[in-house]
């Protein structure tokens, strides 16, 4: 199932050139960019693993693209995303986050319904790797 999380996720996958342009935009805003990856794209999995430290003081997208290439080499079948963090007072939060790579074969999600106490029904969403 095609995962749609973060910005641009309803568009076709971005090319490297397009990724670099988005990163350029983020740097122009003064945001710090970083890379994260995971093998579990469950929507509640908010903690992806960090690929190194966030990159502060980059002047050019080439710095991030270099790391992205490294990350793809090490994790060819994981989800990879780029985040851009705005540290200005009042924001201090992620301003942009988008998937830049995904495994060739993406997992499915299984919705499980269980009866619990008092005739309540509990729904669980579970990642299923085939």
């Amino acid at each position: 199932m095609r995962i749609t999380q973060g910005t641009f996720s309803f568009l076709p996958d971005l090319t490297d050139e397009q990724i670099a342009k988005q990163v350029e935009y983020a740097l122009d805003q003064g945001w710090a960019v970083s890379i994260e990856h995971t093998d579990d794209p469950h929507p509640r999995n908010t903690y992806w693993e960090m690929w190194g430290m966030p990159m502060f003081d980059l002047k050019d997208a080439a710095g991030l693209m270099t790391e992205l290439k490294e990350c793809r080499k090490v994790f060819p079948d994981r989800y990879i995303k780029v985040n851009a963090f705005d540290s200005t007072l009042g924001f201090e939060t992620m301003r942009l986050s988008f998937i830049v790579d995904r495994p060739a074969r993406e997992p499915e999600f299984n919705l499980r319904r269980t009866d619990t106490s008092g005739r309540n029904i509990r729904y669980e969403l579970e990642t299923v790797r085939s």
């Binding site: 002047k59 710095g63 270099t66």
Partner: protein, 299 residues
């Protein structure tokens, strides 16, 4: 595609001539350096012209080495170089990241690679300036992490030429030895530029500009005293050309300030004038006769 290109127009459009002229105007002396920089700029324009005519060639290697004694203008020129490379479209942003060994080499295993890479990433789009680069190589310690930094540098210098330009700097003799011991690095550095020491006359001209830049002026006697100061200081250890001069002027300003405070009431002219006494109070002048006295005593 056109079959002729107007080189002159390309040069004008890049506005690189402005930077080159500025370089000529604002930096005193450095004739051989200025000539080499003009050559490199021409090379880049011709390279661009080839590209415009559809002749494909690998991007030229622009990594450089600036050699010369301290205070001969290497860092200053490197900053201009970044600007020139930017105007000619060879680096995308044109900033300069200046580092030394400590910024690249770590303290323990696994510390060096991330450190070097972080610096490289920051420099991408611009110029990485490595001052006293020979400290990266310490043959006396075979476990030295400097070698690891050199290897990462080499890789990026080779594979990401369009992302950054590296300039190495330091004393000539030590730089030569460094390249002899690191042939891989040497073969990736295409341009070697040597920065000569400044003559006393050139240093005085630089002094005029520095003083002017501070909104001050040298009194007649002060300029003469400064000329004497420079000829004495030059023979002493740790003479660092324009940097020694800058330091001397900074100290003269301190003395001037003290003198003015002691005087109590001052006018605009005295506020902006460095007097002979401000220069002559330097210890450098004491040392000279003192040395003679010692010689006399020894005789």
């Amino acid at each position: 595609m056109a079959d002729t290109v107007d080189l002159k127009r390309m040069l004008d459009e890049s506005h690189v001539s402005d930077v080159l002229d500025e370089l000529d105007r604002e930096l005193v002396g450095l004739k051989p350096v200025k000539t080499r920089i003009r050559e490199i700029a021409s090379l880049l324009v011709v390279e661009k012209a080839r590209e415009a005519l559809g002749v494909t060639s690998a991007p030229p290697s622009l990594h450089m080495c600036f050699t010369g004694n301290p205070g001969t203008g290497k860092t200053t020129v490197a900053m201009r170089m970044a600007e020139i490379l930017h105007r000619l479209g060879h680096v995308r942003k044109g900033h300069l990241v200046a580092v030394t060994r400590d910024d690249l080499v770590g303290q323990y295993i696994g510390h060096t690679a991330p450190k070097t890479k972080e610096v490289l990433k920051k420099a991408m789009g611009g110029v990485l300036f490595i001052d006293e680069a020979y400290y990266l190589y310490r043959p006396e310690n075979e476990r030295d992490y400097g070698q690891e930094a050199i290897e990462i540098l080499m890789q990026v210098m080779e594979n990401q030429r369009e992302d950054l330009v590296v300039i190495f700097a330091g004393y000539k003799s030590r730089m030569d030895r460094f390249f002899e011991s690191n042939p891989g690095l040497s073969s990736r550095v295409a341009h070697h530029i040597d920065f000569p020491d400044y003559s006393d006359g050139e240093l005085l001209q630089i002094a005029d500009r520095m003083v002017d830049g501070l909104g001050l002026q040298l009194a007649e006697g002060a300029r003469k005293a400064l000329a004497e100061y420079l000829s004495i200081r030059r023979k002493q250890p740790n003479f660092a050309n324009a940097r020694s001069l800058r330091n001397a002027l900074d100290r003269a300003r301190l003395r001037q300030a003290r003198r003015l405070i002691e005087a109590g009431e001052v006018d605009a002219a005295s506020l902006t004038t460095i007097e002979e006494a401000d220069i002559r109070a330097s210890r450098v002048f004491d040392a000279a006769p003192a040395a003679k006295d010692k010689e006399k005593a020894a005789c």
